[in-house]
């Protein structure tokens, strides 16, 4: 690895912390129970929205009511996205005249965007009309992220409140997440991205005349559609001239901003943020990759402020970084080393002042190695899933890092809101294990952790694990599952394992060689995405409801402090042990065996 590799990684992490600190304290004010400067500023708009929707903003919802409102709202959104795709051919803002999307693909995409996964079985520029992208997908980018933040805030209130029934008001939390956090940040980011060259318009696709005309070779077919043979029995081919290039357009910047900030990840174009119109320069790349981790990192600090002990928030952020940084370095080292196969062919993979070197298959020149690996690690640590390089073409060990980060349960940063409530489930498990060691009833943040909390935390931890393992088993046994593989051998298995892991943890990135836009994959992954999101939220809100009702236990000499390096180490170990025990056997069959056989 080069000095610049380390420099870029270090600057990225430094900038991230620098931005997360003010945002964290700002969000603590947004979700505070008492009115303050922030919530007074937008109070008029808020009240108008509540009045229009017939919502009583002062209603303090119990956990069941909160959960029901969240579920109904998400289901309605899901159905609207489905309907928009099925009807887009007859709706306006479709200058490319794209037809209606198939039923299974629409179902998959609707679940995908409602659950904050943004798995994409389709290519944006060749499938979705501008209207579908704006009113369906972009709106869900906001609302699924706002849902995640709302649920997190309710879970935090479970720890904070004492002998209370309510967890807050879902509608208020949802509205405030959108109006005060996601919308202003998206506006700023979108305009910064346009300045770098990200497109933002409603024009039809443009046509450019190629500087050097090109051609495609196609097989000559007879009237019945069979290939014609020449005298030697080979297929006859002819050259078809290509003199123009289609330049895709659309309102991309506004959607890219929120897909990065809301850990959504669904690209406007097929190759996501590798597309020069989605991510044209190193500066746009830096802004986009910072946006992936910004809100999840800041929410840790919001958490610390809301529970009244900032050290608690820093401990959780430190746990995330303790796992993130070593994996980032490992991924970068693997990609910078290049591949033995290209070395044998005499290709120059050495880093120098004139080239990034390393494994450049599936990477863009402007990003080279380190910008691609920082992104790959960030997008899979957070449940973002956008890409600026093709993970499928990463070296075996370079590709193992993003896959395993997903499999850790999307709690190392994770999705906005969902990552932190996931990590809180792990924290409950960690204090329970510590309690077992000394034979005391475990406590976390002054609340006794008892059988009900442990059951809910275990459910939250185990759902994604079970979905990945069972889903992968089904896919490798089904002929329709292995039909779409792009690569032979162990790498093909990695494609399946990655796809199911991604869906079952609401990430959305892919080893994209897998042709997943088939009824089998759309249904399997649709089910995985749905079950990974909503049952887990219900379990966490049930835990929060039970915690809120409890009395506060003052810390005693036997209480495990949860802001110390010891707790950070314990929590990181619990996350790693669960992830390693569950997935090492599967990883051994995929990237590990590929790495051993590749030399």
């Amino acid at each position: 690895m080069t000095a610049n590799d380390y420099l870029q990684m270090g600057l990225f992490l430094g900038l991230l912390l620098l931005l997360a600190i003010p945002l964290g304290s700002y969000m603590a004010r947004v979700f505070a129970d008492t009115p303050n400067r922030v919530t007074r500023f937008g109070g008029g708009i808020e009240r108008a929205i509540y009045r229009l929707c017939g919502i009583r903003a002062d209603e303090d919802m119990g956990w069941k009511r909160y959960t029901l409102a969240m579920l109904v709202f998400n289901l309605v959104g899901l159905l609207v996205v489905y309907a928009l795709q099925r009807c887009q051919a007859w709706l306006p803002l479709n200058p490319a005249h794209l037809p209606a999307v198939s039923a299974d693909s629409s179902m998959n995409t609707a679940i995908s965007f409602a659950t904050n996964t943004n798995w994409q079985g389709y290519g944006g520029e060749s499938t979705m009309s501008y209207l579908t992208q704006m009113l369906g997908l972009a709106v869900q980018n906001f609302l699924s992220a706002a849902t995640g933040i709302a649920v997190l805030v309710a879970v935090i209130r479970g720890f904070v409140r004492r002998s209370a029934q309510g967890l807050g008001n879902f509608w208020v939390d949802l509205t405030r997440s959108t109006l005060y956090v996601l919308l202003p940040l998206s506006l700023l980011l979108a305009l910064a991205l346009v300045s770098q060259g990200v497109v933002q318009n409603f024009h039809p696709y443009a046509e450019a005349t190629l500087v050097q005309p090109s051609h495609i070779t196609e097989t000559v077919k007879d009237a019945a559609g069979h290939p014609m043979k020449d005298a030697q029995g080979h297929d006859q081919t002819r050259d078809v001239p290509v003199t123009t290039q289609t330049l895709p357009m659309g309102p991309a910047a506004s959607q890219i901003a929120i897909k990065q900030l809301g850990t959504n990840g669904g690209g406007f174009f097929n190759v996501n943020s590798a597309h020069p119109y989605e991510n044209p320069t190193p500066l746009s790349n830096l802004l986009e990759v910072l946006s992936i981790l910004l809100i999840p990192a800041a929410l840790c600090l919001t958490f610390g402020r809301m529970v009244g002990d900032r050290r608690q928030g820093w401990a959780l952020l430190a746990t995330m970084l303790a796992i993130f940084v070593p994996l980032l370095i490992a991924c970068t080292a693997a990609e910078q080393a290049g591949t033995p196969m290209l070395a044998h062919l005499g290709v120059d993979q050495h880093a120098s002042a004139l080239q990034a070197g390393g494994n450049m298959e599936g990477k863009e020149t402007r990003f080279g190695i380190v910008d691609s690996t920082v992104w790959a690690t960030a997008t899979t640590a957070a449940s973002n899933g956008s890409v600026n390089a093709m993970h499928d073409s990463f070296t075996p060990l370079g590709g193992l890092v993003p896959m395993w980060l997903i499999q850790l349960g999307e709690v190392i940063f994770g999705g906005v809101g969902s990552g932190l409530y996931g990590l809180l489930a792990f924290a409950v498990v960690a204090v329970f294990i510590a309690g077992l060691m000394v034979g005391r009833t475990p406590e976390y943040l002054g609340k006794k952790i008892e059988a009900h909390e442990m059951k809910m935390a275990s459910i939250a931890v185990l759902i994604p694990c079970a979905l990945v393992v069972i889903g992968t088993a089904i896919a490798v046994m089904a002929p329709a599952g292995v039909a779409g593989l792009a690569n032979p051998g162990a790498h093909g298995f990695s494609e399946i394992l990655y796809a199911v892991s991604s869906a079952s943890n609401n990430n959305g990135s892919a080893f994209a060689g897998l042709s997943a836009n088939t009824p089998f994959w759309n249904v399997l992954l649709g089910i995985c995405m749905f079950l990974a999101r909503y049952p887990l939220i219900v379990a966490m809100l049930a835990m929060a409801g039970s915690l809120a009702a409890k009395r506060h236990v003052p810390p005693s000499a036997g209480t495990l402090p949860t802001h110390t390096p010891l707790f950070v180490a314990l929590l990181a170990c619990v996350v790693i042990v669960v992830g390693a025990l569950t997935f090492l056997p599967a990883l051994a069959l995929g990237p590990i065996v590929e790495s051993l056989s590749g030399h």
């Binding site: 709106v139 609302l143 305009l191 060259g197 051609h215 309102p251 993979q349 073409s393």
Partner: protein
């Protein structure tokens, strides 16, 4: 339950208006005042015709032009309507075959060139539309382009340098050469 459903529908409607209509329109409006050229795709015009975008690469295989990154889009390379990477895994024999063919094509166009081939010149980009190559990849092709155009190597080197961009602030991203802009400069009548 009915009240909840009604609240959900209305909330979705309000949020759709705010985040799905007002927000993109506001961004579009401000973008077209502040950055009209970028918002419309950074198009390059020659005599009123669009000859490409500064951000989207084009296919080149004539020895007289600098070649860009190999592109995995289909049916033709650099198909702007369907961006795609190859998604070939690092141990896939198909990748080795593709790289071997690309090396052969480079050697066929420039038989005397014995330098090792820079990796970005024989590996497919992530988007299939990468507008840039590394300075190493440009240097590898310098002599061939100069010879094919009967130009002085120093003159071509000067043009390459003029179209090379360093890291942002000397720190972020990678140094790179815009292939389409460089080739258009080569074609410009003043040379």
């Amino acid at each position: 339950m009915f009240k909840l459903l009604r609240a959900s529908l209305l909330m979705l409607l309000v949020m759709t208006v705010i985040t799905g209509v007002l927000y993109p329109l506001a961004v579009t409006g401000v973008a077209h005042v502040a950055f009209p050229h970028q918002a419309d795709g950074s198009l390059i015009l020659r005599d009123g015709h669009v000859v490409g975008s500064r951000l989207i690469g084009q296919p080149f295989d004539d020895p007289r032009y600098f070649w860009g990154r190999p592109s995995a889009t289909s049916p033709q390379p650099y198909n702007g309507a369907a961006s795609a990477g190859s998604n070939l895994g690092p141990t896939n024999p198909a990748l080795a075959d593709a790289v071997r063919q690309r090396i052969a094509a480079l050697h066929a166009a420039d038989p005397g060139n014995t330098q090792p081939v820079p990796v970005d010149l024989v590996t497919a980009s992530a988007s299939g539309l990468d507008p840039e190559i590394s300075p190493a990849a440009a240097q590898y092709q310098l002599a061939r382009v100069a010879r094919a155009r009967h130009l002085d190597v120093a003159r071509v080197r000067q043009l390459v340098a003029a179209h090379t961009q360093g890291r942002w602030l000397g720190l972020f991203g990678e140094p790179r050469v815009n292939v389409l802009a460089l080739n258009l400069a080569l074609d410009a009548p003043s040379h």
